[in-house]
């Protein structure tokens, strides 16, 4: 039947909640920006150095997004069609690079690709000249290290949204791997890839420490560094704010492109169902998948192994403030998770009808933390001492940073749910809290658990806006790691990083498991 029913409901309470979330998220970015402009007394134009920083930023972000998804496709496919011991562990560990404090991850990478790293030792052993990690390729390599796992996980969900029956049908029709790709996998990828690329692009756009540390010199200047310079050197708030607006405009543009090219998608499903893939049961494909998984495991796990190895040495006699900070970080992560998932649900509700709403969720990672932090400071300062608000502000900033990921997972899942059960719930008058409690929360358990896990781990690793909002009583674990490094205590910092890594993965595992426990068909 051509007619697609739409509900006659009047604007419901949940719609209102959705718009409140939109207002909150955009207000959280826009008001601080306006405050910075207002304080600056207007905009001032970026100079030629800023424009070249912008060019480099876009270039490295595009490359990072491209390579992240180009590599994520074969990895996700191999994970989607192979069953092997340790598969679940590998998927959990895939989340690890994403949550490491940047400098810890970079040091892990250097243990592998650095001057005296494993790769160069191997090169020297076979008599080859050393490879140099510093430069644009190093920046891209590090961004791929941080973002490939995320891209893989999202794509893996896409693969598992293809019903097992389709593969059965494909097998009965005698499809080869190429046919399966054209008719089953490519349509899914076409729907998911733009969104994944958009998220990675947005993350890399505000990259600061990775680009600078591995960039090799001022050629690798990013917009975020230009903002730092405008703020610290020249105290030119107008220029800093204009640069932040440019960042946001770029991400919005990317989001619009991605949403335009991505079709309706649904990948909020579980991770553990592996449909049998008759067409892939050949030795060449098996070998391809084994090699792919082995390589990516090496690429991701060696640096992680280095982080863990170094951390074990520093774990002994870790000072008490580190454990205190760990407790603060856990509480912070839980608060941020509730905020992020709540906001994501409210936005996902609206995104069923207005897909552009998803772009709102991206604002949080698009905007310069320095500028937004400054703006919030300007807004709070007349009211009370901003450091009193450090916890709340940091939790909110973390929630904003986790929002796009939670939204990416929840929006399609909610869309499917409403398609399947919306009419029945409407006809029974299930609205507001009743609908949330008896329909949405139980039916969305898995995507909710997954997105809550993502949000929690992200919040654990995020630094938030420490420069202006440091709270000495309640330092978070990432801040303590930086402080330890700043006080020469690199070993203790490595130990604390290992604590952070374990706690984050633990939280992720708990949420993700919780979402999968006794889930019904």
């Amino acid at each position: 039947m051509a007619a697609r029913p739409f509900p006659l409901r009047r604007a419901a309470f949940s719609d209102a909640l959705g718009w409140v979330a939109v207002a909150l998220v955009s207000g959280f970015i826009l008001f601080p920006l306006l405050a910075v402009f207002w304080r600056a007394g207007g905009a001032s134009l970026p100079g030629p150095a800023d424009w070249s920083a912008l060019r480099f930023t876009v270039l490295q972000s595009v490359l990072s997004a491209f390579f992240s998804i180009a590599l994520a496709v074969p990895v996700a496919r191999a994970l989607a069609r192979r069953q092997f011991a340790g598969r679940g562990l590998m998927i959990t560990l895939l989340g690890a690079p994403f949550i490491l404090p940047v400098i810890v991850g970079v040091l892990g990478l250097l243990a592998v690709f650095g001057r005296s790293g494993i790769v160069n030792q191997a090169m020297a052993w076979v008599g080859l000249p050393p490879v140099q990690i510093y430069g644009l390729h190093g920046v891209v390599l590090a961004h791929v290290f941080f973002n490939l796992p995320l891209a893989t996980r999202i794509l893996l969900q896409g693969w598992q949204s293809i019903p097992a029956e389709r593969f059965r049908l494909a097998a009965s029709l005698g499809f080869g791997p190429r046919d399966v790709f054209h008719l089953l996998e490519w349509p899914m990828l076409r729907a998911t890839l733009p969104g994944v690329a958009m998220v990675v692009f947005a993350i890399c756009l505000s990259s600061f420490a990775v680009a600078l540390t591995l960039g090799g010199g001022p050629r690798a200047t990013t917009v975020e560094l230009a903002i730092y310079q405008a703020f610290r050197f020249d105290f030119d708030l107008g220029r800093a704010a204009v640069l932040a607006v440019i960042q946001i405009a770029l991400v919005t543009l990317a989001a619009m492109l991605a949403l335009r090219f991505s079709l309706l998608d649904g990948f909020g499903r579980g991770l553990d169902r592996i449909p049998r893939r008759w067409e892939a049961e050949t030795w060449p494909l098996r070998l391809l998948d084994i090699v792919t998984l082995a390589l990516v495991a090496l690429f991701l796990m060696l640096p992680l192994g280095a982080v863990i190895w170094r951390g074990l040495a520093g774990l002994e006699g870790l000072p008490p403030p580190v454990w205190r900070a760990a407790a603060v970080s856990i509480v912070m992560a839980l608060v941020s998770t509730v905020l992020a998932v709540g906001l994501a649900l409210a936005l996902a509700h609206l995104a069923r009808r207005w897909r552009g709403i998803e772009a709102v969720g991206l604002l949080g990672i698009a905007a310069s933390p320095l500028v937004i932090g400054t703006g919030i400071f300007l807004l709070l300062n007349p009211l009370s001492d901003p450091s009193r608000w450090a916890f709340a502000v940091t939790a909110l900033v973390n929630a904003m940073a986790a929002l796009p990921f939670a939204l990416r997972v929840l929006a399609p899942a909610l869309r499917d749910l409403e398609k399947d059960f919306g009419p029945l719930a409407d006809s029974l008058g299930m609205r507001g809290a009743a609908r949330l409690r008896w329909l949405i929360l139980p039916r969305l358990r898995r995507p909710l658990g997954f997105s809550a896990g993502l949000a929690a781990t992200l919040s654990m690793g995020d630094l938030g806006v420490i420069a202006l909002f440091a709270d000495p009583e309640r330092a978070t674990l990432p801040l303590q790691i930086l402080r330890l490094m700043g006080a020469y205590r690199m070993d203790a910092a490595a130990g604390a990083a290992l604590v952070l890594l374990s706690l984050s993965l633990g939280l992720f595992w708990l949420f993700d498991r919780g979402g999968r426990r006794d889930a019904d068909a």
Binding site: V106, L110, S116, T213, G486
Partner: protein
């Protein structure tokens, strides 16, 4: 939001109601950290002042000044502690500081008579490397060598800026040529000191830009004397960290008391092994033994404060041009 505001207001009013005077000191984050001087300083000062010392950390020195500029005269700070010589002229421009009344006998390698800002510690920038490795004796030798170095970006880091000023002050018009010579030695430029030092310890470079006092940390805390600072013939650029009293303070006497305390033994003895810098006034007990093994630069360099900004902009352009090639 309203209830929170009320609670915040009550909290703010709390100490005032209790009639305990409160002194608010803005400083950089690593000062207040558990491994910095902050905890010991707070305990020592509160023991003698009968007040509450409120140490507020805000990023690094530049972020600290940024926060002060954002707050302006409405700032709750009575004292700002942790600006360095590179930030003083910008701090002066704000017009937020007032002259202190402390007459101090400072142990600095240079004459110091700024009426507004009082030093509490100082140090020399230096390249730090491993004992037994090649040791170039100046920038030209370093540039000619194939030693690898890791430095910090002057746009986001205090030591990075210090190196920029060091080369510019020592070489003037030839600074650009020095940077061009150094370009192939530079492994990478990090956003801050921690990243650079971490990279060096990981073996990513032979030398890292740090302080002459850095080896003391390894000797005292790790009983490791394998790190050395390289003495350079041009002399070494200085970093002097200062504190200043804000004109809008509501605790002028307490603020002066803190500044006096700051250059007293109780404070100064904490500095060497927490901030890993030289104290501005030598404590009676002297320095820890490891400090005596550190190199003593023959010449201390510091750009005149009133020229520092102009010099900095010029030097940054040269630096960017030389290294972007």
């Amino acid at each position: 939001m309203k209830p929170h505001l009320m609670i915040a207001a009550l909290l703010a009013a709390g100490p005032a109601l209790a009639q305990t005077p409160e002194l608010t000191v803005y400083t950089y984050d690593s000062f207040v950290s558990d491994w910095g001087p902050g905890p010991a300083v707070k305990e020592a000062f509160e023991a003698e002042c009968g007040c509450t010392l409120n140490l507020v950390g805000a990023g690094d020195g530049a972020a600290l000044l940024g926060r002060l500029r954002l707050e302006g005269a409405r700032s709750e700070a009575d004292i700002v502690l942790g600006l360095d010589t590179g930030l003083i002229s910008a701090a002066l421009e704000t017009g937020l500081f007032m002259a202190h009344t402390i007459d101090a006998d400072l142990d600095l390698p240079l004459e110091w008579n700024d009426p507004l800002f009082l030093p509490y510690d100082w140090g020399y920038f230096a390249f730090v490397g491993n004992r037994g490795a090649a040791q170039p004796a100046d920038f030209r030798e370093l540039a000619a060598s194939d030693l690898s170095i890791v430095i910090q970006d002057p746009r986001s880091s205090t030591p990075g800026l210090g190196l920029l000023m060091w080369v510019k002050s020592a070489y003037g018009d030839e600074a650009a040529a020095i940077w061009e010579g150094l370009a192939d030695n530079i492994v990478t430029v990090t956003p801050g000191w921690s990243e650079a030092y971490g990279l060096f310890l990981e073996g990513e470079a032979d030398l890292v830009l740090s302080y002459t006092t850095s080896p003391a940390y390894h000797m005292i805390a790790e009983e490791d004397d394998s790190k050395v600072a390289l003495p350079f013939r041009e002399g070494h650029y200085m970093q002097i960290e200062v504190a200043g009293k804000l004109a809008a303070t509501d605790q002028p006497e307490l603020a002066d008391q803190f500044l006096r305390f700051m250059i007293s033994d109780a404070f100064q003895a904490i500095i060497p092994t927490t901030n890993w810098m030289y104290p501005a006034v030598m404590p009676e007990a002297g320095l820890p033994k490891a400090f005596s093994t550190l190199i003593q630069p023959e010449k201390a360099i510091l750009a005149p404060i009133d020229q520092a900004d102009a010099l900095r902009d010029l030097a940054l352009d040269e630096w960017l041009r030389a290294l972007s090639r």
